[in-house]
Amino acid sequence: MVWVRFSCTIAKDPSVLMSPGSDPTLWQRPDSFSRFGKFGGKYVPETLIHALSELESTFLFLATDGDFQRELAGILKDYVGRESTLYFAERLTEHYRRENINNAVAQALLAKRLGKKRIIAEAGAGQHGVATATVCARFCLQCIIYMGAQDMVRQALNVFRMRLLGAEVRGVHSGTATLKDATSEAIRDWVTNVETTHYILGSRQALEKWGGKPDVLVACVGGGSNAMGLFHEFVDDTEVRMIGVEAAGFGLDSGKHAATLTKGDVGVLHGAMSYLLQDNDGQIIEPHSISAGLDYPGVGPEHSFLKDMGRTEYYSVTDEEALEAFKRVSRLEGIIPALETSHALAQLEKLCPTLADGTRVVLNFSGRGDKDVQTVAKYLEV
């Protein structure tokens, strides 16, 4: 297969309004020249121009046509089965929280540096309490865990563990006697004893009603459709971090990957200006990824634009890391992800340890892995 590259002149530099770090609400996505900044456009033979114009005007009309939108909504609901659910992946969350024993260790070391001899923490299910108690035992620090009286009954085993490790577990009976009350009590203690005490903030485990926005959005990026589907709504909300994850295949240095935004250059492919994987002669490089859906040497122009604007961050994940994530999520949540989605899931390994407790991460679970079980079985010992 031959990839044909159209040559062209790049349009004038975008105006100041579209410079990196500017207010996203002022961006036109796309603008009247069908561009996202300098990306996008209509690099096509003349014969296609008319058809594309017709398509564009029809699309713009239908976007606001009540009848069309109603029909579409009905089909999406009854045929496709939307809305797809926003599912709290409890065991996966727990998995990363457990890895935050690292966090507890770091904090204990910090406390020692600060000369604090007394550690307090709050606990819901008790995992954080146990982690803290463990670390305090190791570093010979006094440990007090505040826990809601209700939770103490439900998680009696963890309470026993904490006490065995030498921690004092104080029951909180106020309010609903659960995590939020334990947290309040812990803060009260800290405020009273701040000279001697270090507070190791734990994470909220309860599935509270979430009256807010996500903090971080994560999605895999091949051409970029599922990612844009998730991101688009939130582009103007600058407090929402957006992370795209590309395929690093055998590794970014191997030359066998599909990490367009990480390793590519700007050019025109398949009719639009965007980042793409090309060699010094402008030939398109054959991409590779274990997941077919990410195996593409280009990326959508809107992604290229968002990258240059600094609005979205892009990372990459190898085949091996994706396979590990595939296995991990299947076992922890009983959901088999597509290999494409597994790239986004793999990024959680690097991402979660850097996030504050209680951060809300929404990952686009773009597809199921039934189609990939044969492939995966070959690679993993199943």
Binding site: S84, S330, R331, G334, D370, V373, A377
Partner: protein
């Protein structure tokens, strides 16, 4: 031939001739008959029914069976003594969670966020049009709706039950779950639920089925389950799973996938699946301000059918139609049409219709829809047939494959071969219905798992 006295509901009965006791293949709850005093008996359907059918003072209550796990004369607990106590514990636990607000809320949340319920009630416009064109009617023709259980997590209705029972297992403090699976859908659903609730999972599967449904086997393993092969098919895997359970009663929960087995299994599974019918009622009300006229579902053991039907048992104006697998034809001897040609007897712990020969040996069933390949049927289904509340028909392998391809082409939905049996029956049903009749077919699963089978059958060139 020897004879045995049978007591049902405390009423002594005259001697009934029994069939040969040498039923080597038959097991009562997984325990070989030879080691056990044989409690089962094969009854000819021409004899007067044993026990009296209660008078129909409360139709709906009558149809839902009594509290002892009997549906008319069907059901019961034909098990070794060792199992009576665990079954009673299970029954107590189940009765508790039925009314426990916390349990129900957790289950509802999981069904919503994990499984993806409610599943849509989809108006199959092109399929409706197809039947209208065939009949060349001037009127609108009947309207066909599909209850989209194929859109659920894991691809079939099986997850509704697996989730609920896994939650019960967790409550009972069991660390380990065992299950048996035919097509693999129940195996995958159980493996998924166990992964979600961090329990060990062992799934037994027949060697013949493992070969036919290899992608489901891989899925189960990826989900963390152990898959153990058993010589034979689903019925043999069932027996082995039950044996395994009996040997590890303290730590292990036997997660039944369908409405067979000793009480309370048929009741529990039906209750967890009844969400299908409850949603359908709500959705029908929303969509056309009324009830369905006809409900159609495939019947292997009966879980998806009961899931859809149960809600409407008391609605006399709603017709309930079950479709069994006629395999290579009812005369070929290679089918799974238990209700059509079977006899009443005891199998896997309960009294129900089953496929058996003159010697009382269990017949080997066949169907291209592996999930329908079972020589028995749930006791509640047997009861619905006998009471006349539901009608049962059959569809052959060939008819099912045709129906599968038709739906794929007309609606872009590839149904499981099991559900395709229900769809196949529409050919005969729809022409008999009035214009505007609302037909709801339970699309109980998606057909991805059957692609290899369909490819082997060969895609008709007209469909390419």
């Amino acid at each position: 031939m020897s004879s045995t006295k049978i007591q049902i509901r405390g009423q002594p009965l005259s001697k009934v001739l029994t069939r040969n006791h040498g039923m080597i293949n038959s097991v009562v709850c997984g325990v070989p008959i030879k080691r056990h005093h044989r409690v089962s008996n094969v009854l000819r359907t021409s004899d007067p029914p044993l026990g009296s059918v209660p008078t129909r003072t409360d139709e709906s209550q009558f149809l839902r069976g009594d509290g002892n796990g009997r549906f008319g004369r069907f059901g019961g607990k034909f098990v070794p003594e060792t199992l009576i106590s665990p079954l009673r514990d299970l029954e107590d636990e189940f009765n508790f969670v039925l009314n426990d607000h916390e349990f129900q809320e957790e289950l509802t949340t999981a069904l919503r966020d994990y499984v993806g319920r409610e599943t849509p009630l989809y108006f199959a416009g092109r399929l409706t049009e197809h039947y209208k064109n065939i009949s060349q009617t001037t009127g609108g023709g009947p309207e066909i709706y599909l209850k989209r259980e194929d859109l659920s997590h894991c691809g079939s209705h099986k997850i509704n039950n697996a989730l609920g029972q896994a939650m019960i297992a967790r409550r009972l403090g069991c660390k380990r779950v065992v299950a048996a699976t035919g097509a693999g859908q129940h195996g995958v659903a159980t493996a998924a639920a166990c992964a979600k609730f961090s329990m060990e999972c062992t799934v037994f599967m027949g060697t013949a089925d493992i070969e036919k449904q290899s992608s489901n086997v891989l899925s189960m393993k990826l989900l963390g389950a152990q898959v153990k092969s058993v010589e034979g098919t689903f019925k043999d895997a069932s027996s082995e799973a039950i044996r395994n359970w009996v040997g590890n009663l303290e730590t292990t929960y036997y997660l039944s996938g369908t409405v067979v087995g000793p009480h309370p299994s048929p009741l529990m599974v039906r209750e967890f699946q009844s969400v299908i019918g409850k949603e359908t009622r709500r959705q029908a009300k929303q969509l056309w301000g009324g009830k369905p006229d006809v409900l159609v579902a495939c019947v292997g053991s009966g879980s998806n059918a009961l899931g859809l039907f149960h809600e409407f048992l008391g609605d006399e104006d709603v017709r309930l139609v079950g479709v069994e697998a006629a395999g290579l034809g009812l005369d070929s001897g290679k089918h799974s049409a238990t209700l059509a040609v079977g006899d009443v007897g005891v199998y896997h712990g309960s009294m129900s219709y089953l496929l058996q020969d003159d010697q009382g040996q269990i017949l080997k069933p066949h169907s291209i829809g592996v999930g329908l390949e079972y020589p028995g049927v749930g006791p509640e289904i047997s009861f619905l047939k006998e009471s006349g509340r539901s009608e049962f028909y059959t569809a052959t392998d060939q008819e099912a494959v045709q129906a599968c391809m038709l739906l794929s082409r007309l609606e872009g939905i590839i149904p499981a071969l099991e559900a395709s049996h229900a769809l196949a029956f529409l050919d005969k049903l729809v022409p008999t219905l009035r214009d505007g009749a609302k037909v709801v077919v339970n699309c109980s699963g998606r057909g991805d798992k059957d692609l290899d089978t369909l490819i082997q059958r060969g895609m008709p060139s007209s469909l390419c």
